[in-house]
């Protein structure tokens, strides 16, 4: 094993030497097999076309990247180009660590042209005082994946009985769960736990509450709605109905393993299914339906979120130009991102023609867009996300009173809005 390790090490360290290179760009991105593979190819092509530029791509797991990046940037050791998830961008933007976009290097003649290329709101996550600081790589909204076979096994007809409301989700899950000897073995549905801004806040919005007021400022509105939503989660959890729990195996994994009948995810998951569970994918016995809405609630779908490409403000001008033209090159290949990695760029040309690419169920995702807000990514987004995570875990697992949870959340949000 040692010899093998040394061999691999030597192999990975032998690179081709290049005389022409004058600008070397460091690109940090997150782990995402199909896209990483595509980008490696695009980088090669980009380097061929621009022999003076060399792009060095470093891949992190997404959980790590969001912690490492702010540290690296503040230490003045950040990469030249990176991607970052929308909710993590504001802290970096506030500190002035990233650069406004360079339209020319991107291949546009004016900012209006850039704006015109993207769907409404796609640039809002990287906008500050009207200046745009990044280019969206992809955006995601979630819908409900359903394993039809599981429905039939439970005596349900997936085409008509699929859940439309959260009340349905509970009711149907009760029928779908398999308990062996009292122990939960298969789940009907389970949430995507750490991503509370993406699914939980919209659930609250369905009930009329929110984390910001009409002016867009941080404020916990409509406590009743929050209490109801927290109570719903508590009922769902292992202390009550025991339909799911953050401590159980990730619902997406269980879905692929045939152990959960429903889960929430974006369009890209179709490809993951194809890649990691071809049996389920090829059986074609699955479908995708809209994000459920509380009975009588507002029609709010799961929040959509972008990943942006940004450029380090402290890189040299040369590198910045190279970086923007690199980003321009990648974003020109939005179609490959879609067909090869199922990444939907929020470029109008892609979104408007999504159905023409023949990706199954893409219409469901598109229809949801109208009811979907971009995820909250203003100041304090991460703190709110972490606080909600703490509270949901305590409500579901430790039996914290939902009313107390709401009070704690309110204190946290007030603290943030006063800063």
């Amino acid at each position: 094993m040692l010899i093998g390790a040394i061999f691999v090490y030597i192999k990975s360290n032998s690179f081709v030497d290049e005389d022409l290179v004058t600008i070397s760009i460091e690109y940090w991105t997150y782990l995402d097999p199909a896209r990483n593979e595509l980008e490696a190819e695009l980088i090669q092509e980009f380097e061929r076309k621009n022999p003076e530029v060399k792009v060095n791509m470093t891949i992190y797991s997404s959980a790590e990247l969001i912690h490492i990046l702010p540290n690296a940037l503040s230490a003045g050791r950040g990469p030249d180009v990176f991607n970052i998830q929308q909710d993590y961008i504001s802290s970096i933007l506030e500190k002035g660590y990233i650069n406004a976009i360079n339209c020319e290097a991107l291949g546009y003649s004016s900012f209006l042209e850039v704006q015109d290329d993207y769907i409404e709101g796609a640039l809002s996550g990287v906008m500050k005082y009207g200046v745009v600081y990044g280019i969206p790589m992809e955006f995601t909204n979630w819908c409900l994946y359903i394993n039809k076979e599981k429905f039939r096994e439970a005596g349900l007809d997936p085409e008509t009985d699929y859940p439309k409301s959260w009340e349905d989700v509970v009711e149907i899950s009760e029928k779908l769960v398999v308990r062996e000897d009292g122990i939960l073995v298969e789940r009907g549905f389970d949430f995507r736990y750490p991503q509370y801004l993406t699914f939980f806040v919209p659930m609250v919005q369905q009930l009329g509450g929110s984390i910001y007021n009409a002016d867009g400022n941080l404020e916990l509105t409509n406590e009743e709605a929050w209490i109801k939503a927290f109570t719903f989660m508590q009922e769902w959890g292992p202390l009550h109905k025991n339909l799911g729990s953050p401590t159980y195996i990730n619902a997406r994994k269980s879905f692929l393993n045939d152990e959960a009948a429903m889960m929430l995810s974006g369009l890209y998951h179709i490809q993951w299914m194809e890649f990691s569970y071809p049996e389920l994918y090829e059986k074609d016995d699955w479908m995708i339906v809209p994000f459920p809405v509380f009975e009588g609630g507002n029609e709010v779908a799961a929040a959509k979120y972008c990943h942006y490409w940004c450029v380090n403000r402290e890189s040299s001008d040369e590198k910045k130009d190279g970086a923007w033209s690199f980003i321009g090159y990648l974003s020109d290949n939005a179609e490959s991102y879609l067909t090869r990695a199922y990444k939907v760029s929020p470029q109008k040309s892609i979104v408007e023609n999504l159905e023409s690419y023949g990706i199954p169920y893409s219409s469901v995702f598109i229809e949801e867009l109208d009811n979907s807000e971009f995820v909250y990514s203003g100041p304090g987004a991460i703190e709110i996300k972490n606080t909600i995570e703490t509270l949901i875990k305590e409500v579901m697992l430790l039996g914290l009173d939902p009313e107390k949870a709401v009070i704690r959340l309110e204190i946290a949000i007030n603290g943030l809005s006063n800063q």
């Binding site: 090490y9 990975s12 230490a75 050791r77 000897d181």
Partner: protein, 291 residues
């Protein structure tokens, strides 16, 4: 007399029962790791658990007995970073154990066999660092490492663990019992002080060196916290990080998880069973502080 024998038997039975129950408790999780690395996720969590991997698993066309292991090595990114991470772990653990032995023996020798002004102060100060928990200084250390640009480098991963206070202590205790006559004889022969250390003290301290190097190898092999901070790039990560990341990722199934756990443990198992006497001796050397 009969009564006496009977008593022994009963107590012996009780002793054996107790020891065997503890043995089961200790070994079952390890045995579980072994068998589960040949199972798929469903069988691993089957109720009741079947200790023998099912035939179905082996006979399915898309699988071999090594499927989980291949997944574990490839990683979810198919980039085989496992080997690079394994290599990193070996580099870090080996470097730390070598430097620990060298520096600790040098210092321990100085403290045990020489009388100089401030010797006790040096000894007590070094012992006092044992009371500084690594967790209490990891953030300043991280800031310093970052300042020196040692993030994502081997030096950054190794330097804070070049030597341990415990190692100095062990070496000193051992060398206190080292016969001074040998050293004096060497001096009479005209051997220089450093040569005495290198040619007489070191070669005659093999047991404690073995124990010490194994212990520091093990500690670094197990270290998660520091690499988590300084080894941020995938190619610089260590095995504990690889496992942590592997378990965080969305596609990892339990079988592959156990396979990676098993693979990561093999180097330590090999070391343990081939050098068990020094492992078990490690505790004994600690006890020798009583003199």
């Amino acid at each position: 007399m009969n009564k006496f024998v009977g008593k022994i038997t009963i107590s012996e039975i009780l002793i054996w029962a107790f020891l065997l129950i503890l043995l089961a408790f200790v070994l079952v999780p390890i045995l579980f790791m072994f068998v589960a690395s040949f199972m798929d996720a469903k069988q691993i969590l089957a109720m009741p658990f079947d200790w023998i991997p099912s035939k179905e698993y082996f006979t399915r066309a898309d699988r071999t007995f090594a499927t989980n292991f291949i997944k574990a090595i490839r990683g979810n990114n198919n980039n085989n970073i496992f080997f690079k991470n394994l290599f990193n772990s070996l580099v870090v653990a080996l470097s730390c154990s070598v430097t620990t032995v060298l520096l600790a023996s040098l210092c321990g020798y100085g403290l045990a066999k020489f009388k100089f002004k401030g010797r006790n102060l040096v000894f007590i100060s070094i012992m006092a660092t044992m009371m500084i928990p690594f967790e209490a200084i990891m953030i300043p250390l991280y800031m310093v490492t970052q300042k020196f640009g040692m993030i994502n480098t081997y030096p950054g991963m190794i330097v804070p663990f070049l030597v341990s206070a415990f190692g100095v202590f062990q070496m000193r205790q051992y060398l206190l019992t080292f016969p001074s006559e040998y050293l004096d004889a060497a001096r009479v022969d005209g051997l220089g002080e450093f040569n005495i250390y290198a040619r007489i003290v070191l070669p005659n301290s093999t047991p404690v060196i073995a124990t010490l190097s194994i212990l520091s190898f093990r500690n670094q092999w197990d270290n998660l916290l520091w690499p988590l901070l300084v080894a941020q790039q995938e190619k610089m990560k260590t095995i504990p990080q690889y496992i942590t990341k592997f378990s965080e990722e969305k596609l990892t199934d339990e079988g592959a998880m156990m396979a990676v756990a098993l693979l990561a443990s093999i180097p330590m198992f090999v070391l343990f069973f081939s050098l068990s006497r020094y492992f078990l001796g490690g505790a004994a050397v600690y006890e020798s502080r009583k003199g």
